[in-house]
């Protein structure tokens, strides 16, 4: 019987009018009958009518409470409240507009930062059953972690009772991509063919590796979007990596960041027969999936056994080596990025607080003018709760409108932020490119709107719903000031709002100041009008050594010939890219001790001139220094002079064992100090080498070009110059030096 009634109630919800009309008619009939009786007992007609009404009591209340019994009261009154709220807000467009805009600011900013937090910090990785995934690392007899050798990996694969499967990978290899419009350098991760299956990750298009695949690749989602315009027809096409063809078989999901956030292609890792037996060469990382029910402890025991077996079988390479099983690392966000995001979150929270305070005081002020209306409603029989609910509904409506506007604001803001981020410059996580307004963020916005709406209206509502009934009715229509208690609250609100705003302003001011200071700190070279272009050596075409020297000299000459180029030079790594190369030297003559470590940079003649680093003494390198059997020479910076020779003039002196065959290097010049790492770091001692004498890290070779006018205009000409020498040469990371420095900050 009960569910029948419930169903009837639900049905009644949609047929409200009839029962309502019925009730009205019934009550009318009742009143008529009472009036009739009164007339019959001798009352005059007017009195009979009013007596009947008085006897009945509050008609509206009776109707409402009868309707209450029908069970769908809450929804109906909520709807009523909302409709009424909309009417009220429309009557005061100015007030509504200001309130909505203010709320939009607060809610929009919070939503934007929340979506950053969600995408970067919170979202997990797309692996299936991540609790079962582990990484297995090797440790040498000294206990230091090392990569795994191929032979060890094959052995582990064969004897692994604890694991469902094992996969190996190399984190990254830079490969040259040709056969496309512009040759590029891609970040390739070779992985064993069971890699995707082990992780439980599937491609969003196409397929993953088969066991037999050797020349196929899976493209990363980000690279596919940025370089192939998300064209689905890319699948099946051939891309040439390091002069070998690979067929594109699939596109990875956007949130796969394994083994590295910068991975742009995954290729199969294939072992030759010789490699499979090699237990000496260590270059792999290994992950595995535990069999269901196997604990970490058991897995570790199994690996200990395997390690002992290997040590016995191959004592030369594996004696004392152990294997360690650890749960797989989640996405690691570097702490500078993490703290930057959390700081933003804090700041935006302050903004929200300010916004709420603002809107609350606005509502309080307006509440004073609505006291008359509220009093009437109370007289009609509205309970205090009902009145509060009405005002809170209005607040939520305001917040709702504000959040709609805020969402628009947030998505615009996010798009701007993401476009400002440096693309492909060893960013800490690809996730930054994926930041968008998605479902969890929308849910957050809705919740935030409800919360904000309630918060801003609760205080005014409480205040308004308890007026002195009589007083308010008398004052109805007059815009009366609030009571003493009211203005106290208002004052408190204003004070707190100003305080919050001050905190925010001071914080922002400090940040801007320190940023500015960083930006204008002298770096030792002149970053104006300086274009940097990275031209990584294509190893399969030019070997490192005399061939690369010739290649780069060729390119340099062409660049120097471009009109508008004042000077050009080349270095094997640029300052301010986040790291630099170092070399160890024997200890300085006057202070014996441990080896001396100095930064090293292989440069071309003209580098110092292009960079604007003054040559203080001696000479710059010449093309003769790059010849095959040229005498070993070096140029040092002043920090080096201070540390190594205690400030004595270095030209003509030697650094022992600095060259090939442990020969000594002759110092031929001294340059001014310039920073290597970051704007707020100390200058390190630095030794400059002619490129021909130490062609190292050729994948980082960068040209620096000083231009007469805007550096970006020369960029196309520089690319042309390089392509004239070799049209398959990737020319990448073209940035002005100013940008490089800013990005480092």
């Amino acid at each position: 019987m009960n569910w029948h009634r419930e169903l009837a109630k639900l049905g009644a919800l949609f047929r409200r009018r009839k029962p309502t009309d019925d009730l009205a008619e019934e009550i009318r009939a009742h009143l008529q009958m009472e009036e009739q009786e009164n007339l019959e007992s001798g009352m005059p007609p007017d009195e009979a009518h009013y007596a009947a009404l008085r006897r009945f009591g509050n008609v509206t209340l009776a109707q409402e409470r009868s309707r209450e019994m029908w069970g769908w009261n809450t929804v109906e009154t909520l709807w009523q409240d909302l409709r009424y709220g909309v009417r009220q807000l429309r009557k005061n467009p100015g007030f509504t507009a200001v309130a909505v805009l203010t709320l939009a600011l607060g809610i929009g900013a919070t939503t934007a930062i929340f979506s950053v937090v969600d995408t970067v910090l919170v979202q997990g990785a797309p692996y299936q059953n991540p609790a079962q995934l582990v990484e297995i690392s090797a440790k040498n007899p000294q206990g230091e972690e090392e990569p795994v050798s191929t032979g060890d990996f094959i052995h582990w694969q064969a004897q692994s009772p604890a694991f469902e499967s094992l996969a190996a990978y190399k984190r990254w290899e830079l490969r040259v991509l040709t056969g496309v419009r512009e040759p590029d350098e891609v970040w390739a991760s070779p992985v064993t063919t069971n890699f995707f299956h082990l992780l439980g990750v599937n491609t969003i298009m196409g397929r993953t590796f088969l066991a037999s695949d050797t020349q196929t690749l899976v493209l990363s989602n980000e690279y596919w979007r940025s370089h192939f315009a998300a064209d689905p027809k890319i699948i099946g096409k051939t891309l040439v990596l390091d002069n070998k063809p690979y067929t594109v078989i699939g596109i990875a999901p956007a949130d796969l960041e394994f083994p590295d956030p910068n991975t742009q292609v995954w290729v199969p890792l294939v072992f030759s027969a010789a490699e499979k037996d090699n237990h000496e060469h260590k270059l792999l990382d290994v992950i595995a999936r535990l069999k269901p029910g196997v604990t970490l402890h058991q897995a570790q025991a199994a690996m200990d056994l395997a390690a002992r077996q290997l040590a016995m079988q191959y004592p030369k390479s594996n004696a004392g080596r152990t294997a360690h099983v650890k749960p797989i690392k989640g996405r690691e966000i570097g702490s500078p990025l993490r703290s930057a995001i959390l700081t933003l979150l804090g700041a935006v929270f302050f903004v929200l607080l300010i916004v709420c305070t603002n809107v609350t005081s606005m509502l309080l002020a307006r509440g004073a003018t609505r006291q008359g209306e509220t009093a009437v409603r109370a007289a009609l029989g509205a309970g205090r709760w009902r009145l509060i609910r009405q005002l809170v509904a209005e607040g939520v409506l305001l917040a709702g409108a504000g959040s709609l506007a805020g969402l628009g604001l947030a998505s615009w803001g996010l798009a701007t932020i993401v476009s400002q981020l440096p693309k492909y410059s060893l960013v800490e996580t690809q996730a930054i490119h994926r930041i968008s307004i998605n479902l969890p963020v929308l849910g957050f916005t809705v919740a935030l709107a409800l919360l904000t709406g309630t918060v801003v209206s609760i205080l005014p509502a409480l205040r308004i719903s308890s007026p002195n009934l009589n007083e308010s009715l008398k004052q109805r229509g007059r815009v009366s000031g609030t009571s003493a208690g009211g203005s106290q609250v208002q004052r408190a609100l204003i004070v707190s709002e100003v305080a919050l705003a001050l905190v925010l302003l001071v914080g922002a001011g400090l940040m801007i100041q320190s940023f500015e200071r960083l930006e204008t700190t002298p770096t030792g070279f002149n970053p104006d009008h300086l274009l940097t272009v990275r031209v990584p050596l294509v190893k399969y075409k030019h070997s490192e050594g005399p061939q690369s020297v010739a290649f780069y000299r060729n390119v340099l000459e062409r660049i120097e010939a471009i009109p508008g180029v004042r000077a050009a030079g080349m270095a094997n790594n640029l300052p301010f890219i986040g790291f630099h190369t170092v070399t160890s030297f024997p200890p300085p003559p006057n202070s014996p001790g441990d080896t001396f470590i100095a930064a090293t940079r292989s440069v071309s003649p003209g580098y110092f001139q292009a960079m604007g680093i003054p040559l203080k003494e001696g000479r710059d390198f010449t093309p003769a220094d790059n010849q095959k059997d040229a005498p070993c020479v070096r140029i040092v910076n002043e920090a080096m002079v201070r540390r190594y020779w205690s400030g004595v003039d270095p030209v003509g002196k030697q650094i022992p064992k600095a060259c090939r065959n442990d020969a000594a290097a002759l110092i031929v010049g001294r340059v001014a100090d310039s920073k290597q790492g970051s704007v707020d770091s100390q200058v390190e001692p630095e030794v400059y080498v002619p490129y021909g004498q130490h062609p190292f890290a050729s994948f980082l070779v960068t040209f620096v070009v000083r231009t007469a006018s805007n550096p970006s205009e020369i960029a196309a000409a520089v690319r042309q110059a390089v392509w004239e020498v070799d049209h398959d040469q990737p020319v990448i990371q073209i940035r002005t030096m100013g940008n490089v420095i800013t990005e480092s900050i």
Binding site: M1, R5, D22, L23, E25, E26, I27, A29, H30, Q32, M33, E34, Q36, E37, R55, F56, G57, N58, V59, L61, A62, Q63, R65, S66, R67, E68, M69, W70, G71, A378, G381, G383, S466, P467, N468, L469
Partner: protein, 119 residues
């Protein structure tokens, strides 16, 4: 701020009002006005309830399934809704009456302990 008077009075009579309505309908089907008049008469005019408060109670009793309603025509040829007791309502009335009588006995016992002690 004082609450509307009718609300106060209804709270007091809440459960008992239900009982009174059911009792009245025991004598036969009537409309709302008739129930109100009947209650007034039977209680010798001591129970002056706002007629309006009957209607929420009537709705509630309908929800519970203790009474049913039907449109009909009154003596004065007016359309009125007639309420009737259901078997379940009848049972409820019996239960409520006995509970009420127990309640009254209890209160009486507390209010006049002297009498019981004396006898």
């Amino acid at each position: 701020m004082a609450r509307p008077p009718s609300e106060d009075r209804v709270e007091l009579v809440y459960g008992s009002l239900d009982m009174l309505i059911l009792r009245t309908l025991l004598w036969g089907a009537t409309h709302g006005h008739g129930i109100a008049k009947s209650i007034e008469r039977q209680s010798e005019e001591t129970l002056k309830v706002d007629h309006g408060s009957l209607y929420p109670a009537l709705q509630r009793l309908q929800q519970q399934g203790w009474i049913t309603a039907e449109w009909g025509v009154s003596k004065n040829h007016q359309r009125a809704k007639y309420y009737r007791l259901t078997p379940a309502g009848r049972r409820q009335l019996v239960a409520e009456t006995s509970r009420w009588e127990r309640f009254v006995r209890a209160i009486t016992g507390v209010l006049r302990p002297a009498e019981t002690e004396e006898t």
